[in-house]
Structures are given as C-alpha cells and as structure tokens.
Symmetry: C2
Amino acid sequence: MSESIFSITAADGAARTGLLHLPHGTVETPAFMPVGTAGTVKAMRPEALHRLGFRLILGNTYHLFLRPGVETIAALGGLHGFSSWRHNILTDSGGYQVFSLAPFRKISEEGVLFQSHIDGSRHTLTPESVVDIQVALNSDIQMVLDVCTGAGIERREAEEALDLTQRWAERAVRRRSKINEPYRGHLFGIVQGNFFPDLRRRAAEDLAALDFPGYAIGGLSVGETFKQYEATLTATAPALPEEKPRYVMGIGTPEYILAAIENGIDMFDCVFPTRAGRTGTLFTTRGRINIKNARFARDPEPPDPEIASFGGTQFSMAYLRHLFQSGEILGSILATEHNLRFMKWLVDSAGSAIRDGSFSRFKRRILEVYPP
Amino acid sequence: MSESIFSITAADGAARTGLLHLPHGTVETPAFMPVGTAGTVKAMRPEALHRLGFRLILGNTYHLFLRPGVETIAALGGLHGFSSWRHNILTDSGGYQVFSLAPFRKISEEGVLFQSHIDGSRHTLTPESVVDIQVALNSDIQMVLDVCTGAGIERREAEEALDLTQRWAERAVRRRSKINEPYRGHLFGIVQGNFFPDLRRRAAEDLAALDFPGYAIGGLSVGETFKQYEATLTATAPALPEEKPRYVMGIGTPEYILAAIENGIDMFDCVFPTRAGRTGTLFTTRGRINIKNARFARDPEPPDPEIASFGGTQFSMAYLRHLFQSGEILGSILATEHNLRFMKWLVDSAGSAIRDGSFSRFKRRILEVYPP
C-alpha cells in the first residue's frame, strides 16, 4: 500500500472535506490551486498567495522544461527555491501542453517527440523522463505522462490512447519507485478514456491497482458540454479509491467546481480565474462582471463587499475600471487577487457547507448566479 | 508671508535635510517622489509604496484630466479617495505633458489650447483652471501652469516664454488666494528661463516676491548636458528663499539627484526608476545592471544585498531574469519595487551623510558607480 497522504474530515453525500499531507505542509480540501505556469502565478507575489490562504499551487512542466530549463531550476534549489514559494507545488506532466501548444508532436510507444513553441527546438518526453524532471523540480505532487484526446473522437482512437496511457502509468510508477529520499513528492495517476463511461471506469480500476497516493481525472474541459462533464464525473469518481485524494484537472469556474465537489472531488486547478482577471472579468457572489463596463465609471463600491476583496485596502469599481481603461498593471494585479480570493471563498464555503450538511443548499445558491 | 510648511533640520554646505509639513502628514527631505501618472505608480500597490517609506507621490494633472476626468475623481473623494493612497500627493500643472504629448497645442495670453493624445478632443488649460482642477483632485502640493521650452532655443524666445510664465504665476496666486478651507493644498511656483543664467535668476527673484510656500525649478532634463544642468542649479537655487522647500522637476538618476542635493534642492521626481524597472534595468549600489543579461541566468544572489531589495522575501537575479525572459508581470512588479527601494535608500543615505557632515564623501562614492 502506498503511504496515506489524505484524511477525510467530513462528508455530505459524496462531497467531502479533507486534509492533504504533503512535504511542504498540510492543505485543506476542497482546494482550488492557482496556476503558476512559468514559476509565477501571473501578477501575484508569493506572499500575497500565502496571505490569501493558498498552500498548494501549480507549475507547468512543459513551460519550465523549455524555459529556464530544469538544470537551472535544480541549481537554484528546485522550484520552491527558484520561485520563493515556500508551500506545496503540484506539477503537471507536460503532456497536456505538448498536445495543445507544440506546433509539432509525434507519439510512439517510447514517449512523445515535440517541437518547442518558443524556438522550434525538438525534445522528447517519456514516462520516465517526466518523473525525473519533476523530481528535479522537487514537486510535492507530480503527475504521470498521459495521452490527451479531444471531445468527439471515435471509440477505437480513445481506447488506443487509453491503453498507451495505462502502459505509461506503469512505467512511471516503476521509475518513481526507484527514486529515494530526500525526494518525497507523490506521483498521481491520471484517468483518461475520453467520453466513454466504460473506458473511464476501466481506467480508474486499472490505475487503482497501481496503488497511487492520489488520482486525477484528465481529459475534461476540452470542449465537451456541461452534461458530458457531469456524466464523466459520475462514471469515474466512484470507481476511484474513496480514501485517496481526487483531482479534476483544468476546472476553474464555480459551476464546474461545485459539480466536481458534489461528485467527491477534492482538488481543482485552472488558469481561468487569473486569466479572466487580467482582462477585467471579475467573479463575485452576485455573478460575473466585466469591470470595463461604463456603468462602473463612478461606482464607489468594491467589487464584492461579501468577500472583502483586497484585505486592508479597499478599491472601488470606479478605480478598477479606470486602471483597465488606462492599461495599468495594477488593474491586472488587483483583479487577479480579487478572483483568487473569490475562488478561495468558494471552496472554503463549500467546505463549511459540507461540515454543516448543507452543501446542496450552498450549491443551489451559487448556481442561481452561475448557471451551468 | 505664506504659511511656513518647511523646517530645515541639518545642513552640510548648501545640502540640507528637512521636514515638509503637508495636509496628509510630514515628509522627510531630501525626498524622491515616485510618479503615479494615471493615479497609480505603475505596478505598485499603494500599501507597498507605504511600506517602502514613501509619504509623497506624484500625479499627472494632464492624464487625470483626460481620463477618468476631474469630475469622476472629485465624486470619488479626490485623488486620495480614488486611488486609496492615504499620504501626500503632488500634482503637476499639466503644462509639461501638454508640451510633450499633445499632438496639437496653441499658446495664448489666456492659456493653452490642446488636443488629447487619447481621442483628439480639444481642451483649454488656463492658470486659473489648472488651480481649480488641482483643488478638485485635492492635491497636497499643486503646481502653477508654466510655458515649457527645450534646450537650444534663442534668448528672445526663452524670455518671451518666461515673461508669460511669470504673468501666469501671478494669475495662479490670485486664484489660489480665493480658495478657502477645507482645501489646504499648497501652490508652488516654477522657475523657468531656459539655459540663460540671468533669466533664471530674474525668474527666481520675481517668483520669490510672490511668496509661494515652495519653489520648483522646471525646464530641466529636456536634453541638456550634465554641465548645463549643474550650471542651471548653481545659478538658480541660491536665488530662491533659503527657508522654503525647493524641487527640481523630472530628475531621477543618482548623479542628477546628488547634484541637486548638493545645490540645496529638497525634492525630485522622475518616471525613470519605475520605467527602467519595467524594462529590466535595475539600480544597485554597484551601478546599473540589465537583469536580462545572460550572465545572471543562474545567479542565486539578490540584485543588491546592501539594500535588501524585497523585504522579507528574497528573489534571485536568476529568477528575475527568468521573469523578464518570460514576459511575466511579476518581473515588472519586483524590478519596480527594487528601483524605488534603491531611490529611497539613496535619498535617506544622503540625508544621513548631511547630518554627519560627510555628504561630499557619500556623493563621491556613488559617482564612482554612477559617473555623470
């Protein structure tokens, strides 16, 4: 049995709260993980993330592998030392970015050959090299290399991609088992299987047999409908070991997160809240707003009095709008912080509701302003 | 006599330290004032400026007048309420920006007609309206409208511009005298006269007769040589009342600031430290560096151990370089903060040296790494 890193503290139906014990401290779940693609959550200082209550953020292996390079990061104390973020880091395997960003890629049994979107240089990632890279980054949670597929493909193609993903998962587990202390990061498996429920269930069971300390559901948020998304969760989550943490990759809007929590998922990540912030879209408890709208030109209120957007200092919607109209960096900084604070409020409130046995009521309240 | 807002606390030759008493608190001089063009010092949160020790920043009347407009700012509690900056604000008159940014402008006895660089709309500024605008902004220090001239013009042209500037100054004083409490901001005069020492002296004496609470030297940093700059300071500063604060406009590099302090100047502002930061140029006690240089790729040291660049959190030059290579906003944030911290260190250290009687030695040390 793999070391247990998760304890469930409360449940309400399938939804649950828990504690995730990681090398850089304990994380409360449900947890939204801000994305720090290139070793920085865009527009946020690490202290600000800490102040907002985050204890686990993401890094993208693909981006860091290409720039500044793994050797540079390793020489500077791993991703924690390099970025000055002192809490936990989850890194993805790079697979998703290879499939979505690289101008050229070729999959073989061995791994994936691809071209950099920065300078066109060619590189190979294998299930083993991806483990080694994430060890060099000193990731607290690392992900296996998987084959990503889009919505709308044939069953045969989905099955072939899944079979290769499963063989790669076995190779990744073997590699991880050969890496000793001081590295203490945990390798998570990824359930694929496209939008075929039986493939998803089979993948979950096969991965469960490999006894990972945690499991992700991948291949979502790739263009499917909300119904397909929910159906995949319902088919997959119950097939995963109940006592292990579960992570849905690439999910970052209130309605998607709440559907995941309802299905017993504990972790989520997405660039959307930070990216939306940088373009002036704010999440609030009254729904989503575009701060550039002229109706905010003289609005003296903060974007959301309920979640005390900016800690000690209060900025009005009028000022935020002015910053966006003027193309000021402070607009991106404040809107990013606001959206991350909203996401933290959302998952923390979901946790409280689970402990109270009122999760359904909380979800209904949020869905009124964030309809699927 | 105008109300005294300045007390000199130490002197070393013509250089001096002082306290500037303003509506939003006392400011130690010599003081470098970060520039918040559009109601934000680019990439800085107001709390961060406070933490760095700044108590007086600049706003640009021209920019704020055009966007978001004076009525909007007034409706939101003036520039302090609008921006959430709780300390002092100095606003310029808009004259300099009209002369340097507007695609079209026409000077008359009445004032200056110009076209907005944003949308081409036409506006007029007069000595009186510029006072009124700065009252609406609730500026702690406001500046008179002046006629700006460049280096290399004929004496006759310089004299005509100066004469008009002096007539405008008288009109501004009359307007300010009619504005009562609760507005408590102070109107400063501006010495012009191009690079003709006798015109500068005459301007200083004429303005002194108007009994402003403080005086600026304008029309510098317009393309002149360092020698011309120093000669202008030497001709102008001694002709200004010794007991009033003196401000050189648009000066922001160590060698220019130290020359100003040596000549008895108390205040300086410039966008250069913040703008340079955003493009990766850092001021350090060992001289200026370009953080994008490949030699910093694996440098684990902070940019300047002597001035503890980032407070609690330490960021390496390798990480800063990576942020700039990747076009990350955090690069601009950290480099801006670093440069502002350096400027604060520079003026504070100059103040300590003045109190010790060692200003010349301090200046020589800095000029070794910042040669004029």
